[in-house]
Symmetry: C2
Subunit: 362 residues, 2 copies
């Protein structure tokens, strides 16, 4: 769910750094305050807040950058308010990831222990059984996710935005959470189902689970905060939806065909996990893929076997299809930007984002 490689193309590098710093300040202030309040309730609670804070660090602040870049491109000048709304989406992201890890029983993220993993490891070190230690990790993650989730809403509430703006921002955030919950539920259903879901069902699930809260919501929030006209906000949502879907497809491609050095993620992980992607869904409709089909989801898949799967994904046309589909959605996104009512500044700001997605499938 990390939007790999895209943070670099949202606005100029200098603007992006400045915006990231603004968001970091808001988050730091929020965590400092929470920590001081937690101190009154004991060191264990302080430790939980510290772990939650650590979960928000190391990311590229991709969702806040979406907010701030739309906001600035539309003439917004209140950096504090924009940073608060950006931070709100970062906290929403954190909450969803922490709870997603509970659902996926994941104890690792970006190569190190995640929040649940940190608690599990500590319990193991203290002599707990594996099952008890995992349960402790999951318990802490459920609680921490709740704190981040409500923090996201509070961050908007306290952004200083005017009444009607705040109310609309909360609606956008609500819509994002509502969509993400639906996507997560569908994803759980997919994982349990024997049948491979269809390509369009996978796209729809990925859009709901990740793209709405990562692209559509943040872009629209930036527009709303900047006081942009309705048609611009609609376009921001449309652009976000198209580019978000394109991005998810590219992400699935990189998860199998990417270079670890670039993506920071192993390229056998998705295959070992048997992740339901556009690639694999397409492939399973082709006889060419039959001989390697049983390898998808093999927990101890070797590098050589992974290479066999990759070749079959190319041979059956799945790779080409997925690349084409990503291009299609990225082009649809670009088409929204040339609508006459879109301000030139916004076009300049968002064009590189679509280009970057396209660049990866050229």
């Amino acid at each position: 769910m990390e939007a790999r490689g895209l943070s670099d193309v949202v606005g100029s590098p200098a603007a992006a750094r400045e915006r990231q710093a603004d968001v970091d300040i808001v988050l730091a202030r929020w965590f400092d305050l929470a920590r001081r309040r937690a101190e009154l309730l004991g060191p264990e609670y302080v430790a939980l807040w510290d772990e939650l804070r650590a979960s928000t660090e190391g990311g590229k602040r991709f969702r806040p950058l979406m907010v701030l870049s739309a906001y600035a491109a539309l003439g917004g000048t209140d950096r504090d308010a924009a940073a608060s709304v950006g931070a709100a989406f970062e906290l929403l992201h954190t909450a969803l990831i922490v709870h997603d890890d509970v659902i996926d029983r994941d104890f690792i993220r970006r190569g190190g222990p995640n929040l649940a993993g940190a608690y599990r490891d500590r319990a193991l070190a203290a002599g707990a059984s594996e099952a008890d230690a995992e349960h402790r990790g999951i318990s802490a993650a459920v609680i921490a996710g709740d704190l981040a989730l409500t923090g996201a809403y509070r961050m908007i509430e306290r952004s200083g935005a005017a009444d009607h703006v705040r109310s609309r921002l909360l609606e956008v955030m609500d819509e994002a959470l509502f969509a993400s919950a639906a996507g997560e539920l569908i994803d759980v259903d997919f994982a349990a189902a024997v049948e491979m879901p269809r390509v369009d069902d996978i796209l729809s699930m990925e859009r709901l689970k990740t793209a709405v809260y990562s692209f559509e919501g943040p872009l629209q929030a930036g527009g709303i905060l900047a006081g942009a006209p309705e048609e611009t906000i609609t376009t921001l949502g449309d652009f976000g939806r198209e580019i978000g879907i394109a991005y998810q497809i590219v992400d699935d491609l990189l998860g199998v065909f990417g270079h670890e050095s670039e993506t920071g993620k192993t390229t056998v992980g998705d295959l070992r996990e048997g992740k339901r992607t556009v690639l694999v869904s397409y492939a399973t409709t082709s006889e060419v893929f039959d001989p390697v089909r049983h390898l998808v989801g093999k927990a101890d898949l070797s590098d050589a076997e992974a290479e066999l799967v990759r070749r079959a994904l190319v041979a059956c046309g799945a790779k080409g299809f997925a690349e084409g589909l990503a291009r299609y959605y990225a082009n649809r996104a670009l088409a929204r930007l040339v609508e006459p009512h879109v301000p030139a500044g916004l076009r300049t700001e968002l064009h590189p984002l679509a280009d970057a997605v396209l660049g990866r499938v050229r």
Copy 2:
């Protein structure tokens, strides 16, 4: 966490019924709207919303009654706004219970399957393994709890309360969630610890986990919404804290010594679970309890063994101590009500609540 038996004494029975109906209407409207939105995203999502709605039903709306009763006693007349704020605390309660059940790996509540249990049972019926079915139940519960939690915040946001009132109400709700998360974390630590926690640590945990969001928060919210003066709101918080602690102690007493017909809860459950209560914590400091100590936490405790534990809890003085402690806190609560600045109407409204708690330990 169900505030057994107390809903009947908050306000007159007729007033309570009317208030419950007001809250039910707000909740019904909210769930109806969510359901319509969910229909666009598929039948599985509708089913999740229906399960979440079912999780809010059958309760006595105790927390909303706290809000509405303080509000009415302080002269509040906007029934819609009060019902929304009441409903917000009901949703907070639902969210915390649903996530608490994830943490406790509970699939049953009030004798039937809870939300996680309903999903588990459905997966089992569809042929899933026990582990997979439980995991499905837990996944659905994590997602549903998130929806209820953000719903609670949104319910206050949309209560129609004036800006500064809404902002204070959200602070009260935030404080309640902040406290509950800390209490939940400490409770998890207690369950994992070998040592029995001290009586005051148990009281503190129970206050944080349940009493703040069930008593202090709702009462203060009612006062804030009614525009009561600061000192009244402070008193509402103080009264809520004292009566909330008293109530928790009584609840623990009823969990062992109550009558199933009255409490609707088995009186061996807490003992089988080895629940850390004031009763048991006190008892383990006494030699008289030594012969039965090993029975606390025995998963297959028989009725005869439970009776042995009960007798030892009486003989070692734990029952008398806990009753005395509950009386002490209930009397402290009552003392707050006679402070000169407390309006007579509020005193009349809340006195029966303290009486009811006291009545159970007389």
